[in-house]
C-alpha cells in the first residue's frame, strides 16, 4: 500500500494542531501496518523530520527544466533527497512554468507556515503536486486540510487514483458561520472531488454534509488520538499549590475558542471563592481584549496571562493546573483536553467540541452556559472525589485512544476505496 500524502505542517515545526495530527496519523499507520509506505509532501521541510516516512520537500521539486550536472544538484539539494529523485521529477515537468518566479534549480520557494500570500502558496503547491503525481507510484492520495485539497485534486486528475481528504477543520468552525468565499470554494471543490472524506469528529462530519452538501455515504468520522507522553514530560512533577487551585485555559485566544466565556465563568467563581486562580495561556487576536475584560470585571488579580506556551512549557502548564477548561464555541476535534488528561488534569470541555464524542471522563457543558461551567470548576476544585475520579479514570480512558487504532480504521477506508471503487456505487 503506497500512499501519497499532502500536508502543510509536520513536526518538529509546529504551527497548530495540524502538525500533531499529521504526525499521529502517519506514525500510527506505519507502526500498525508493516506494508504501508507513505510519501509525505510538505511545502518546506526543515530537514529534521523523523525518518519513518519519505518526505518530499515541494520547494525541491523542479517545475522548470534546468540542465545542472549531478554534482551541482547534489550540492544544492538537502540530504533527504537524492539527485536521482531530482532528475526523476525533472523528467515529469508537464508544462512551461518559466514565467513563474523560480530559482536556479527550477524550484519554487515557500515561506512555510501561514504567510500573507497563502493563496499563492496553495496554488504553487498544487502546480508542483502535478509533477510529483506524474513521477511517483502510489495507490491512493490523502490530502490534509483545505490548503492541500487543490494539490490532492490535481494529483487525482493526473493519476486517476482515488482521493481521500482529511477535514481537520472547516471554515465554518473558524469563522462562526461567516465563511470566506475563497476558502469555502477551495474546500467545497476538494470535497466534491474526493472519494472519501474523513472528518475528525461527527460534529465536523455533520458540517460537511450540511454546509458543503456532501453525500453522507462518503463522509466518515475519524477521531484523532494522542501519543503516550514521552518520559521527559512524564517526569515533570505535578505542582501542589497548597490551598490554592489553578484553573487553566490553553489555546489560541481567538473567537473560535470562546475565551470570553472562560473569563465570565472565572468571574462567577471568583465572587464566591478566594482560593481559585485562573491561568489564561496562549496568544491570539483577542489577547488584549481578554486582558481588558478581566480588568473590567475586577478579577485581574486572579487571572494570569502567561502568554504563548511552547513545547515542554505546555506540559508544565498542564501539570501545574488542577482543572483544564476548553470552552470552544466550535471545535472540530480539540486535542488539548486529551493532553491535559494524560497529565492527570481533569478537563471541562464544551459540548461543541468534537473530542467530546470519544471522551466520557470529562465534564461537558454548553460553551454559553457560564453558570454550568463555573459550577463544574467549583466542584472540581472543592470535591476531592470528583477530581480523583476524573483524574484516574481520565488517564485510563486516554491511554486507550491510540493512533495505531486510528491507522487501522483509515486503512480500512483506503481498502474500501481502492478495491471496491469507493463508497458510492
Amino acid at each position: 500500500m503506497k500512499v501519497l500524502m499532502f500536508g502543510w505542517e509536520f513536526p518538529p515545526k509546529i504551527y497548530g494542531g495540524l502538525a500533531v495530527a499529521s504526525y499521529g496519523i502517519t506514525k500510527g499507520m506505519v507502526e500498525g501496518q508493516p506494508d504501508a509506505q507513505i510519501t509525505f509532501c510538505l511545502p518546506k521541510p526543515c530537514g529534521e523530520e523523523e525518518k519513518f516516512l519519505r518526505i518530499i520537500g515541494m520547494n525541491q521539486v523542479p517545475i522548470v527544466y534546468r540542465g545542472h550536472d549531478y554534482d551541482y544538484v547534489k550540492s544544492r539539494i538537502p540530504d533527504y533527497m537524492t539527485p536521482e529523485e531530482y532528475y526523476n521529477f525533472r523528467d515529469h515537468i508537464y508544462a512551461d512554468f518559466s514565467y513563474m518566479n523560480v530559482n536556479d534549480m527550477g524550484c519554487m520557494e515557500f515561506a512555510g507556515g501561514y504567510p500573507g500570500n497563502l493563496h499563492d502558496e496553495i496554488n504553487n503547491f498544487s502546480i508542483i503536486a502535478g509533477v510529483v503525481a506524474r513521477s511517483e507510484q502510489f495507490d491512493i492520495i490523502h490530502a490534509h486540510d483545505w490548503l492541500t485539497y487543490p494539490a490532492g485534486v490535481h494529483a487525482k486528475m493526473v493519476s486517476g487514483k482515488p482521493l481521500c481528504i482529511h477535514v481537520h477543520a472547516t471554515d465554518f468552525d473558524r469563522s462562526r458561520g461567516k465563511v470566506n468565499p475563497t476558502v469555502y470554494s477551495i474546500e467545497k471543490n476538494g470535497m466534491d472531488h474526493a472519494d472519501c472524506i474523513m472528518c475528525v469528529s461527527e460534529l465536523t462530519r455533520q458540517t460537511v454534509i450540511r454546509e458543503y452538501h456532501q453525500d453522507p455515504r462518503k463522509c466518515f468520522a475519524m477521531h484523532n488520538a494522542v501519543y503516550p507522553l514521552p518520559q521527559e514530560y512524564l517526569d515533570i512533577p505535578r505542582v501542589d499549590h497548597g490551598k490554592e487551585k489553578v484553573v487553566t485555559f490553553l489555546g489560541r485566544i481567538t473567537m473560535q475558542k470562546g475565551p470570553e466565556y472562560f473569563i465570565e465563568a472565572a468571574d462567577l467563581v471568583c465572587k464566591r471563592s478566594k482560593n481559585i486562580r485562573f491561568c489564561f495561556a496562549g496568544s491570539g487576536d483577542k489577547y488584549w481584549e481578554m486582558v481588558d475584560l478581566a480588568a473590567a470585571k475586577g478579577i485581574a488579580d486572579r487571572v494570569h496571562f502567561p502568554g504563548f506556551q511552547r513545547g515542554k512549557q505546555v506540559y508544565e502548564c498542564y501539570k501545574a493546573s488542577d482543572v483544564f477548561v476548553m470552552p470552544s464555541v466550535s471545535e472540530p476535534f480539540g486535542i488539548a483536553p486529551l493532553e491535559a488528561m494524560q497529565c492527570g488534569t481533569p478537563s471541562i470541555i464544551s459540548k461543541q467540541s468534537g473530542c467530546g464524542e470519544i471522551l466520557d471522563k470529562v465534564i461537558k457543558v454548553d460553551y454559553w452556559d457560564i453558570n454550568a461551567m463555573a459550577d463544574a470548576i467549583y466542584s472540581l476544585c472543592t470535591n476531592e472525589g470528583l477530581h480523583t475520579y476524573l483524574r484516574d479514570e481520565g488517564l485510563k480512558e486516554v491511554a486507550e485512544i491510540t493512533w495505531v487504532k486510528v491507522g487501522h480504521r483509515i486503512r480500512k477506508l483506503y481498502d474500501e476505496c481502492i478495491y471496491n471503487g469507493g463508497f458510492i456505487h
Binding site: R272, I363, A374, A376, Y378, T382, N383, G385, L386, L390
Partner: protein
C-alpha cells in the same frame, strides 16, 4: 401446596432542583416543585391508579389472593401532597384484609450501611406511620432496594421484626433455591424471604422485550421441584404502567394469575404468613446485596469515589441531624438520603435514567452543592462548636440512652422477680414499683456525675419517668 408471595414497592423521590454553587448559603430550598408534581401525577395516573384498581378487583374476585406493599416515607409524602387518590386506593385495598404493608426506612436511603441509630430511628418512624395509616404495625421489613447483610439482619431482628425480604442473589445462594424460608445467620429469630430473580424479572424486566403469557408463567411456577413451595415475586409497583406500558397487556397478565393459579392448585401468601413457616437453614451474607443490576450489590450507589465521597459527607452529619430537633432540617435530610440521588452519579455503563442531570458529574456537582448548603445549616445550628466537642456530646447522650434502656430492662426484670416472690402483692402493683425504683435510682445518681455536669438534668427527669412508664426513654 405451592404459594406465591407477591410484593410491590411504592417509592418516588423528591427531585432536587438545579442548584449552583453560588446558591450555597443563600437559598435553602432544594426541590424542583414542578418536576415533583409532574412526575408523581404522571406515575399515579399511568401506573399506580390502574395497577391498584386492578389489584383491588382481584382481591374482591379471589378471596385467596394476597399481595403486600411497602411505602417509603418520602414517596408517601409526595403522594399525600400531589396524588392523594393513590392513598385512597391503598386504604380501599387495605380494607379487603388480603394485603399487608411492610416497613422500610423512611427516606429510602442507605442509612443501614452508615449509621445504626439513624437507621433504627427511620425504621421506627416509618413503622409508626404505617400503623397510623393502615392500622397495623408491620412485622416484616424490607430495606431500601433490598440491601442486606448479616449486620443489618441482626439490627432488624433487634427491632422486633419477624421477617425480612431480600434478593435471592446467586452469590449468597449458590446451589440453594430461593423457594424456601431461611433465617438470618446472626439472629435466627429473623426469617429471610428471598426473591426469585428469574420469575420476578420475567414480569418486572422482560415483559415487553420477551413477552410471555400468564399460563406459561404459571406453568414455570408449577414446574418448580417438589417441596420448593414458596415463590417470592417482588418488584416495584411502577412495573405496571411505567416499565411496561398498560397497552402491553401487563394488567391482563396480572389479572390472569390468580385464575390460572387456582387451576393448578397454587395459592398465595403474605410475607408475614411465610415467616410463620419453618426455616430450612441460615443464610450467611457477609457482603452487601441488593436487587439492583447484574451484580446485585451496592455498586450502583457506592461504586465510584464520587458516590463514596457524597455518601460519607452526608452521613458525617447524621448524628447531629438526628438529635437536632429542627423539623425542616430533618425533612431535607430525608430527601437528601434517598438512594436515587446516588444512583444518578453512577458511572457504570448502560445506566440511562439520570433525572435532570446529563452526566454523573453533573449529578454529583449539583448534589454536593446542596449538601454543602445543608451541612453548613446543620453546623450553624450547633453555633460553630467544633466537631470533637459535638461528637463527644452526642456519644454521651447515646451512652446515657443505652444506659437508661439497660436500666429499664433491669427494672422490668427485678419487678418480675419481686412479683414472683410476693405473689400476694400482685394486685397491689404500685407499691412494688416504688419499692423497685429507689433501688435503681441510687447507682444511677452515682454514675451520672461521673460524666459531664451539663447533661445531668436530663437523666434526672428520665429517672422519675422510667419506673412509671417504660417507653419514655425510648421516645427520646
Amino acid at each position: 401446596m405451592k404459594k406465591i408471595c407477591l410484593y410491590f414497592e411504592i417509592h418516588q423521590i423528591v427531585h432536587l432542583k438545579r442548584y449552583r454553587f453560588f446558591d450555597i448559603g443563600r437559598d435553602h430550598y432544594y426541590y424542583d416543585d414542578y418536576e415533583n408534581e409532574r412526575s408523581i401525577n404522571d406515575i399515579a395516573e399511568r401506573s399506580y391508579v390502574p395497577a391498584l384498581q386492578t389489584l383491588i378487583q382481584m382481591c374482591r374476585e379471589h378471596p385467596e389472593f394476597r399481595v403486600a406493599f411497602s411505602l417509603s416515607g418520602v414517596g408517601l409524602e409526595q403522594l399525600e401532597f400531589h396524588a392523594p387518590q393513590v392513598i385512597d386506593l391503598l386504604h380501599e385495598i387495605n380494607a379487603t384484609g388480603q394485603v399487608e404493608f411492610l416497613c422500610e426506612p423512611y427516606s429510602h436511603g442507605l442509612a443501614s450501611l452508615a449509621n445504626e441509630e439513624s437507621f433504627t430511628a427511620e425504621v421506627k418512624r416509618m413503622s409508626d406511620r404505617i400503623k397510623e395509616l393502615f392500622g397495623k404495625r408491620p412485622k416484616v421489613f424490607r430495606n431500601s432496594s433490598l440491601i442486606y447483610n448479616d449486620e443489618i439482619g441482626a439490627q432488624v431482628a433487634g427491632m422486633g421484626f419477624k421477617g425480612l425480604i431480600t434478593e435471592g442473589a446467586k452469590q449468597i445462594l449458590g446451589w440453594k433455591s430461593p423457594h424456601y424460608i431461611y433465617h438470618c445467620a446472626t439472629d435466627p429469630r429473623l426469617k429471610l424471604l428471598l426473591r426469585d430473580i428469574s420469575l420476578s424479572e420475567d414480569i418486572t424486566e422482560r415483559f415487553t422485550s420477551h413477552p410471555i403469557m400468564a399460563d406459561q408463567w404459571i406453568d414455570w411456577v408449577a414446574s418448580t421441584p417438589e417441596g420448593e413451595d414458596f415463590i417470592n415475586i417482588f418488584g416495584e409497583l411502577v412495573t405496571f404502567g411505567i416499565f411496561h406500558p398498560i397497552q402491553s397487556g401487563i394488567l391482563e397478565f396480572l389479572k390472569a394469575i390468580p385464575v390460572l393459579a387456582k387451576q393448578r392448585g397454587i395459592g398465595f401468601a403474605l410475607p408475614s404468613e411465610l415467616c410463620e413457616e419453618k426455616s430450612v437453614g441460615a443464610i450467611e451474607v457477609p457482603y452487601n446485596i441488593s436487587w439492583v443490576d447484574e451484580e446485585r450489590d451496592t455498586s450502583c450507589w457506592l461504586g465510584n469515589v464520587m458516590q463514596r465521597e457524597a455518601f460519607h459527607k452526608l452521613y458525617s452529619v447524621a448524628d447531629r441531624v438526628r438529635v437536632c430537633g429542627d423539623r425542616r432540617l430533618q425533612m431535607d435530610w430525608d430527601s437528601l438520603q434517598a438512594s436515587n440521588n446516588f444512583r444518578f452519579m453512577t458511572t457504570k455503563p448502560g445506566y440511562q435514567y439520570r433525572g435532570i442531570y446529563d452526566s454523573p458529574y453533573d449529578a454529583f456537582t449539583n448534589y454536593m452543592n446542596i449538601l454543602g448548603d445543608f451541612i453548613s445549616r446543620v453546623n450553624n445550628l450547633y453555633g460553630g462548636a467544633d466537631n470533637e466537642e459535638i461528637d463527644g456530646l452526642i456519644t454521651m447522650i447515646k451512652n446515657q440512652g443505652d444506659e437508661l434502656a439497660a436500666k429499664d430492662k433491669e427494672i422490668e426484670r427485678l419487678r418480675k422477680k419481686l412479683e414472683k416472690y410476693n405473689p400476694t402483692e400482685l394486685e397491689d402493683k404500685k407499691p412494688a414499683k416504688k419499692a423497685a425504683a429507689p433501688k435503681k435510682a441510687a447507682p444511677k445518681k452515682a454514675a451520672a456525675p461521673k460524666k459531664e455536669a451539663k447533661a445531668e438534668p436530663a437523666p434526672k427527669v428520665e429517672e422519675k419517668k422510667a419506673p412509671a412508664k417504660k417507653a419514655a426513654p425510648k421516645k427520646k
